[in-house]
């Protein structure tokens, strides 16, 4: 019975599949049918529409089906184009760690794939053009399944807009027919990739400023320089808030300036762009100031005629998504870019850096702060306002940036893409393309490694700029490091402290000092095991160490160092002594410091005593010599050694004179030592030869490289 039902069911499925396959072949061979998919943000939707325009120009009869996700950018943008629009379920990939979100993702993705299979079988497209964003994943998966089953006769193209592909694109890209790339660097991720550039809709065309202004739905008073600020199609909270904050500082220029603000379409519970901006406006500007905004500031959620807004503006302030950059380049406008921080691969920073190095943009990095317990990115309103005014005050530079902007990116991307779709080799490659300079941004741990190696090599001559090589990168690294200080886990904060020191981010010294003296206790259970404060021992130790690297001394630093000298954690005390020795020239002869250090000579931890004795050599006077001589019978040879070093330093500094008394004092020292340095003549000779040959061949002298090569030929 059951077998019969199953057999009939199976036969039915096979018949349907065969019919679908035949129908598909017939339909695809007839008129051109194309499925477009991609969305979430305008950055994914617009390239899909641009490609559609390119196909339509070639084959006007083409039928399009757009598959997207409900309530996202595509549901607004695509509707206006008149293409057929269908929705499927999908969700962002939550990452590898299993959680409830993973389950939800799998369920939604499963339903999305099933929906896509039905849609594809009905529509029977010849091509699928996916432009990324999580919506395209179920569509591609469905198409791949249908292809594998022999039902789908379709070619799948994936367009990647960013220099670093997202996780889903990186995975799907392996199986699709061709990956179309914006940046030449990305080709290393996709063996089946082809660099075509970023397709821009034909409606994005430069127009003379006056014409563009005339076409706008709102009036711009004549003679104003217009600044267009927006955070992408969805809007960016950081930018929206910064604009509102900046208005206060821009108001004095209201006779010269006009600000156009695109708030974005986001209207989720998490962030409602329009409402949040309105609230912020009411809170941060007085009613009198708000009255002045008329004729100076215009706000709208989304501009369908964005090309006109671009053309009417003298300066564009925005995120550095690939879409925005390419559009700006197409229009040829100067930009002030605020890359979104904390993204995988820092790809917005990479994009922004590329445009900056082409001379077409200026950069502003956002800070990461903690507000009401949540991590937020923030751009200070005054900083933004100052930067805008400074740029507008320099018309020559703006003109130069505008000129360079036009040559920033690869042109004729649509033609290249159409060429790939029709599998033609006609397109003469290489025209109008300009390679994008590409250097990886270092991860935090890599940065720490590079900088601390440089610091260890150069000591106080260390210059983070020289080690990193680029002022903008350094600025970004500094912002990133400062962001780490807000994190919940102490390991992140600790890393931030080290990086702030090594990037010499002196603006953050007050923050570090505050953390150093922060006495918020940790949980009871941690205290039971020897923990003390939220800013754990390692953080405090590294702050004191960072102060030395930062090499900046003032009253506040002095006050907090004094507190650190009696910290409950021994490493903080000993590091404090070392830092005091470092700032010795500023502190020499100070009675308070000598008293504090003399107290440290009785510390119960020998490490602290050692560092205190050395520090006394730097800051002490004749009286301290006696205290150092009293260490002559210390149990630890390092303490005795440190006392002698301190005395020697006192003599070098001319604080005490060599005398018979001193001779007597030092002769009372126990000179036996439990440690020694071994001396391996063969290793020394070997190292000498290696270093000499390396100098010749230009390799850096360094550690033994014998272990670097895994297999050496047997002679």
């Amino acid at each position: 019975m059951y077998i019969a039902v199953a057999a009939i069911g199976l036969a039915f499925v096979i018949v349907v599949a065969l019919a679908a396959s035949l129908r598909w072949r017939k339909l695809a061979a007839g008129e051109n049918r194309v499925v477009l998919s991609g969305g979430g943000t305008g950055g994914h939707v617009n390239p899909a529409l641009a490609i559609a325009e390119g196909i339509k120009a070639r084959e006007p009869g083409t039928r399009f089906l757009y598959i997207g996700v409900r309530n996202k950018a595509e549901s607004v943008i695509v509707r206006r184009t008149g293409y057929e629009l269908r929705f499927v379920l999908s969700e962002g990939y939550p990452g590898l760690r299993p959680s409830l979100r993973t389950v939800r993702f799998l369920v939604k993705a499963g339903i999305g794939v099933a929906q896509s299979i039905v849609l594809l079988m009905v529509f029977a497209p010849r091509w699928i053009i996916a432009t990324g964003g999580y919506v395209s994943a179920p569509v591609i998966a469905a198409a791949l399944i249908l292809k594998k089953l022999g039902i789908g006769h379709v070619r799948i193209f994936l367009h990647e807009q960013n220099s670093i592909p997202g996780q889903l694109n990186a995975l799907m890209g392996k199986w699709v027919d061709k990956v179309l790339l914006t940046f030449p660097q990305t080709i290393s991720f996709f063996p089946n990739g082809k660099v075509v550039g970023y397709p821009i809709r034909t409606s994005i065309l430069p127009a003379p400023g006056d014409e563009a202004r005339a076409r706008l739905s709102f009036p711009i008073p004549p003679g104003r320089e217009t600044v267009f600020i927006f955070g992408g199609s969805q809007g960016a909270r950081t930018i929206n808030r910064a604009v509102v904050d900046a208005l206060h500082y821009l108001l004095p220029y209201r006779n010269r300036l006009f600000v156009i603000h695109g708030t974005g379409l986001a209207s989720s519970a998490e962030y409602d762009a329009a409402a949040d901006t309105q609230k912020r406006l009411e809170r941060s500007l007085s009613p009198g100031e708000r009255a002045l905004l008329e004729g100076f500031y215009y706000r709208q959620d989304y501009f369908h005629n964005i090309a006109d807004v671009y053309s009417a503006s003298s300066l564009i302030v925005c995120r550095s998504g690939a879409g925005s950059l390419n559009e700006i380049s197409r229009i040829g406008k100067p930009a002030l870019l605020i890359p979104k921080a904390n993204l995988p691969g820092d790809h917005q920073v990479m994009n922004a850096r590329a445009m900056k190095s082409a001379g077409a943009a200026d950069l502003l990095f956002e800070d990461t702060i903690r507000e009401d317990g949540a991590l937020l990115e923030k751009v200070d309103g005054k900083v933004l306002a100052d930067k805008i005014v400074a740029l507008l005050d320099n018309p020559a530079r703006l003109a130069e940036m505008a000129e360079k902007s036009q040559h920033f990116l690869r042109r004729r991307a649509i033609e290249r893409i159409v060429n790939e779709l029709y599998d033609e080799k006609r397109f003469h490659d290489g025209n109008g393309s300009q390679p994008v300079p590409f250097k990886d941004l270092a991860s935090n741990s890599r940065l720490l490694h590079v900088l601390s190696a440089a610091y260890n090599r150069m000591g106080q001559d260390f210059d983070p700029l020289a080690a990193i090589g680029d002022a903008d990168d350094l600025a970004y690294y500094r912002h990133r490091a400062a962001g780490l200080l807000c994190y919940e886990t102490w390991q992140d904060r600790n890393l931030g402290v080290k990086l702030i020191g090594l990037t010499r981010y002196r603006d953050k010294i007050p923050t570090l000092l505050e953390m150093l003296s922060d006495r918020t206790p940790v949980s009871r259970i941690k205290r039971l095991f020897g923990g003390d404060f939220e800013q754990v021992g390692f953080i405090r130790r590294n702050i004191v160490q960072a102060l030395r690297v930062l090499d900046h001394f003032d009253g506040e630093v002095e006050r907090h160092l004094m507190l650190a000298l009696s910290d409950s954690y021994f490493e903080v005390r000993s590091e404090a002594c070392r830092t005091i020795a470092h700032f010795g020239p500023c502190l020499a002869g100070s009675a308070a410091w000598m008293e504090a250090l003399l107290k440290r000579l009785e510390d119960r931890c020998f490490e602290v005593v050692i560092e205190a004795a050395v520090a006394l050599g730097e800051v002490g006077d004749a009286a301290t010599a006696r205290a150092l001589l009293a260490l002559n019978e210390s149990h630890y040879w390092q303490v005795r050694n440190a006392a002698l070093r301190g005395i020697r330093r006192l003599i070098d500094r001319g604080v005490i004179e060599p005398s018979t008394e001193l001779l007597e004092g030092t002769s009372a020292f126990i000179l036996t030592s439990t440690d020694f340095k071994p001396h391996f003549p063969i290793k020394e000779t070997y190292t000498a030869i290696r270093n000499a040959s390396r100098k010749r061949s230009g390799q850096p002298a360094g550690a033994d490289s014998r272990t670097e090569k895994p297999v050496r030929k047997v002679q």
């Binding site: 020897g530 754990v536 021992g537 020694f676 391996f680 020394e684 550690a703 033994d704 014998r706």
Partner: protein
């Protein structure tokens, strides 16, 4: 081989009666120790040369410290020599049918191969920090622990089922209680994993792990002799373990191999034992103590290894990873002593002395019960 041959020959004719010598454990023990040490003396130099030529050298750990005194570049995997010496010696002088011996050899080989895998992958990855992941190591160690626990408490128990799950503690004659197969098996599993890692951690200075291992193994060998002897065990109130005397011979072979290795491993070392050696030694010691019902004596007998492991784990897991401060100046113990300004050679000898004292106290528990 010789033992097995003699067993075959003796019944054949009176001419072979002198071969009855092999029935004496003392004779076979001495012979096996000599065999092992001679094996190592013969093969060490060619082995070191072989290791050097194939670049199986100790890799730099990414601590950021480079000095002319660091030891990276010293040939490693010396554990292969130790294991080889013991195996050869046991092949010649061992009773191949003894379950005691087979358990010990199995443990030594399993952990030795695991260590070899780790050593080779460290060399492959060119970094002392990137051998096998901690998890893989623990899984593989646990797997052996599981098998061995099953053998010890299951139907194959070499001790017999009446004794297998009884808990004995030092300085007390009678079994404290019967832990039951499940609980006792779990204890064995954890014990084996812990001890093998403890030796691995201790192996940080030239000659530091090898000599205390000799002390431990020799004391265990004495225990094996007593417990395997009907008269002595009755006299000292130990449960009589038939066939445990075979472990005395194994211990002697181990002693010989370790002495031979120390010849080259003493400061400044020409070869390191590597994870191959340290894991194998640790695994063997753990298996031996369990088989001789001396697992509760081990915290005292191998107190040095236990201290090293505990300091290292407390510093790393509680201090550095969790509460964010150092609890000891440095960890494990030997690095702490070095940090306090004691030279490597002196640290090693002092810890040998401590290990020797602990071994003497442990030996005293033979009578003091």
């Amino acid at each position: 081989m010789i033992y097995e041959l003699c067993k075959l020959l003796i019944p054949l004719s009176d001419f072979f009666s002198f071969l009855r010598l092999v029935n004496y454990i003392s004779f076979r023990a001495i012979m096996s120790a000599l065999t092992a040490v001679i094996f190592i003396f013969l093969f060490s130099k060619p082995f070191i040369l072989f290791v050097h030529r194939h670049c199986f050298l100790d890799q730099v750990r990414e601590t950021g410290v480079h000095s002319a005194y660091d030891k990276s570049g010293t040939p490693t995997m010396g554990g292969v020599l130790i294991i080889g010496g013991v195996l050869i010696s046991m092949a010649i002088w061992g009773n191949w049918h003894s379950p005691f011996l087979l358990c010990c050899l199995g443990g030594m080989l399993w952990f030795g191969l695991l260590g070899l895998w780790d050593d080779v992958s460290k060399v492959r990855m060119k970094s002392g920090d990137r051998g096998l992941s901690e998890r893989t190591k623990l899984i593989m160690q646990g797997l052996f622990g599981l098998i061995f626990a099953w053998i010890s408490v299951g139907p194959l128990a070499p001790l017999g089922s009446s004794l297998a799950t009884k808990v004995y503690i030092p300085f007390y004659k009678y079994p404290l209680f019967d832990a039951g197969p499940l609980f006792y098996g779990l204890f064995i599993l954890l014990f084996v994993v812990f001890v093998s890692n403890a030796v691995n951690i201790t192996d940080g200075l030239d000659g530091l792990a090898i000599t205390p291992s000799i002390f431990v193994v020799v004391v265990l060998g004495v225990f094996a002799y007593v417990e395997g002897n009907r008269i002595y065990s009755a006299y000292l109130y130990y449960p009589y373990l038939r066939g445990a005397g075979e472990l005395t011979i194994f211990a002697a072979a181990f002693l010989g191999a370790c002495l031979g290795f120390l010849w080259y491993n003493a400061y400044p070392a020409q070869i390191f034992m590597g994870d191959t050696g340290s894991l194998a030694i640790g695994g063997t010691m753990a298996v031996m103590s369990v088989l001789l019902k001396q697992e509760m004596l081990f915290p005292l007998l191998g107190g040095l290894f236990i201290t090293e492991a505990l300091t290292s784990q407390i510093q790393d897991k509680i201090g550095v990873r969790w509460i964010g401060r150092r609890i000891f100046f440095r960890a494990p113990l030997h690095h702490n002593l070095q940090h306090k300004g004691i030279a490597e050679t002196k640290v090693v000898i002092r810890l040998w002395i401590m290990a020797g004292i602990l071994a003497l106290i442990s030996l005293a528990t033979l009578k003091l019960r």
